[in-house]
Symmetry: C2
Subunit: 244 residues, 2 copies
Amino acid sequence: MSSPSTPARGRPARLDPDRTVGTALELLDEAGLDALTMRRLADALGVQAGALYRYFATKQDLLTAMAERMLADAGTPPAAAATPDADWSERLADLARAMRAALLARRDGARVFAGTHSTGPHTLGFAETMIGVLREAGFDDRDAAHTLMAVANFTVGHTLEEQAALRPGSGDPADPERLCQAVTVTPGRFPHLATALPTLTGTDFTAGFEFGLRVLVQGLRTLDRTGHRHGYAAGHGGGGRERS
Amino acid sequence: MSSPSTPARGRPARLDPDRTVGTALELLDEAGLDALTMRRLADALGVQAGALYRYFATKQDLLTAMAERMLADAGTPPAAAATPDADWSERLADLARAMRAALLARRDGARVFAGTHSTGPHTLGFAETMIGVLREAGFDDRDAAHTLMAVANFTVGHTLEEQAALRPGSGDPADPERLCQAVTVTPGRFPHLATALPTLTGTDFTAGFEFGLRVLVQGLRTLDRTGHRHGYAAGHGGGGRERS
DNA sequence: ACCTGAACACCGTTCAAGT
DNA sequence: ACCTGAACACCGTTCAAGT
């Protein structure tokens, strides 16, 4: 069990960044973001709170490292990785789905991600993959960058709402009951909203996510056609793999 | 100046919800969300911190009231209000622009809004107006509700990034320098990202917002054509005002 | 009815001192 | 080098008591 390339010289070091982030993510799943405290995390690690600051200058840095690890493998979703010759729009959608899945995998995952700006390899790799798909499809730099931001913003925003609505009515009651009551208490004031209430307070978040994804992809497709100056247009039907 | 219908009987009441929210918004603009403390707000109001809890059961409730007031008049943007016979897509885009403008108008406005779930008249009125525009254009309940969420999520997500990037590099350095350095420090690892860097780290946020808006609207337009069961299709060109 | 004063149970962060 | 112990400067929230 003694790995030969261990550079540890002095004591075994009970604390290291990897274990700290791992325990922090476990604590997040158990107690939620609001209960994720430097003191509580230190307790779970069997250490004093001050010790955490030897590896993370600030709590924000710890949260950023957590967000970075959450996105592991999100840049290489199984579907898109297994079918590199698929339609660009399907690869794009799969990347967005992988991101949503990564955020949903942990309690308050979207909130953690939205509050940080990781520049780690996983986060950057995700962006790299997505921009790569778009550029191969003929998008120029500007459009690819803007598309990345639009899809990522939609995905994070959606998952934020999804996780807010799913947790029990603690401090900030999400849509379910509060919205319903507020609308129906004034019968004639919000007629259109009242009609749309069943969908808005429904629990089929996947349907809403797929709707937005479909709308975005369709919009991008028309952009591809009517468009600007593209060197080559691809992905109009289904095949058309392109190399180099 | 003594309004006849004032129900105040005892003392003038130095504190009231309206003034409290107003002062809180001023404090937000001056110091930012992280510095908006119940104690500091109480100081600005010339009162003890505990007194705030007679009108707001929790700080979250105060933030919700702030978010609600921010959205005042966002449901009736000048452009869309002045031209009720305009294309539905232009009215939709104007509503999104009004929402972005409302959030940008105050420091950390997007962060305050994203962290709350107001069910007040302004927030509900905004949703009502948007769903109304969509239903008049022929969208069914489900599509209208999903579109509202997609547009709102994109707008909030975009403005969140915009305000994060605009403020000085305090605790959480946004894109400008950090991202640039992280990408360029490993030359060959993120080639596509590196190409898109100028746009991603650029400061023309309006261009990025309008891009996403255009993509969403175009996607919704194709949905309108290929679509489902619509009673009537409208807004395909420009005119076509419809009443009752 | 409305607010004060003071406390309760915490926070993130720092830093001498130990080992 | 790595962690402890203890402090600093705060938090949100509650609640008897005053006026």
